[in-house]
Amino acid sequence: MSFGKRPELTAPPEFFYNEDEARKYSQNSRMMEIQGEMAERAIELLELPEDESKLILDIGCGSGLSGAALEEAGHYWVGMDISDAMLNVARDREVEGDLILSDMGQGVPFRPGSFDGAISISALQWLCNADKRTHKPVQRLYRFFSSLYGVLDNGSRAVFQFYPADQGQTDLIMQQAKRAGFNGGLVIDFPESSKAKKYYLVLVVGGKSNPIMPQPLTNIHSNSVEYTERPQDRRRALAGGKTKSVKDWIQDKKDRRRRQGKDTKHDSKYTGRKRSSKF
């Protein structure tokens, strides 16, 4: 994921996860470790009976990092993803699970009761975006959840690790999941830490309307991923910590525009000067 900006605001997922981005998911060890840990936690939250192989659907399987965690836990999986490039990486890694190219917002294309559970790592927040003129987040979320409800066995669970942009998104997602018939709620791991904090949406097919949720993790154990501090303002730090004056800033900006061949007003003694109070 790129720093700073939320990736779902930059481009639709099938374009954002291109060859370059996909390569990171097989080479960047920090990224792979975090994805793997989140997948392990999601599998734990499925609370499947021990020592039994199950059929799990991996939604937004990407390059198959979460699939590797499923294989390790002894489960068989089928993965769906909208990015061709990510699926290519998965295929090159010769994952055990089967892959299909599909858009979760168009529904989950399987027969009723196919799976014993579903996991999804860092994918759900993409559904809250309208990337095409015809996209309606509410409609796409509902279509996704209602079709997912159908393909899961009674009593099974779906666990989503996701990055909500704000409370509104979380509410929207919960509303549509409940409307589709799911019970369940949020498990927030490490709620005190702004960096290690992780949101897991745990949905249950059938059962009580207010099921007992698994306990969130609170202590950051020693083997968790180390995060390094990012400088607050990288550009200022690069400029040697000095703040530019307004005049310099405007001049720099005009020079930049000229270099780019854009239409720019000529420089004069008035450039970057305050307007007089009479103006």
């Binding site: 190219l101 599909s102 168009q106 027969r111 279509r143």
Partner: protein, 126 residues
């Protein structure tokens, strides 16, 4: 794509499609990849499988031993049967570049590219 996945896939996301199952499989080339035989897991998967559809799928790709036409009653204890089912479900892989699946109701085609079925539909189809 393994035949197990074909057995589970539908085209129900297309508007006005009622069942969307089974998808008609058109593929001539297959690759056999040996995978671990797990009888315990398999006997739990088999009840989810539409056996008739699987038999037809195996016949359509040809090139391999046909399956028993009906599900054996004692399938969970019948090792020979389980091995055949395992082979059909998890070892036969559709690897072709030109393969496709077809929605039984609308005739919409889903291409299989490099072994990955493309189930994306246009926005006006959902």
């Amino acid at each position: 794509m393994k035949l197990f996945t074909h057995n589970m896939l539908t085209s129900k996301m297309i508007r006005n499609v009622q069942v969307g199952y089974p998808l008609k499989l058109c593929a001539s080339e297959v690759k056999i990849t040996p995978t671990d035989f797990r009888p315990g897991f398999l006997s739990k998967v088999i009840p989810k499988i539409d056996w008739t559809v699987l038999v037809e799928a195996v016949n359509s790709v040809g090139n391999t031993e046909p399956l028993p036409p009906a599900l054996a009653e004692d399938y969970d204890k019948n090792d020979d049967f389980l091995r055949k089912a395992h082979h059909a479900l998890f070892e036969i892989e559709i690897e072709v570049i030109t393969g496709e699946m077809e929605c039984p109701e609308t005739g919409r085609k889903f291409p299989i590219q490099n072994g990955v079925p493309n189930m994306l539909v246009n926005e006006d189809e959902v």
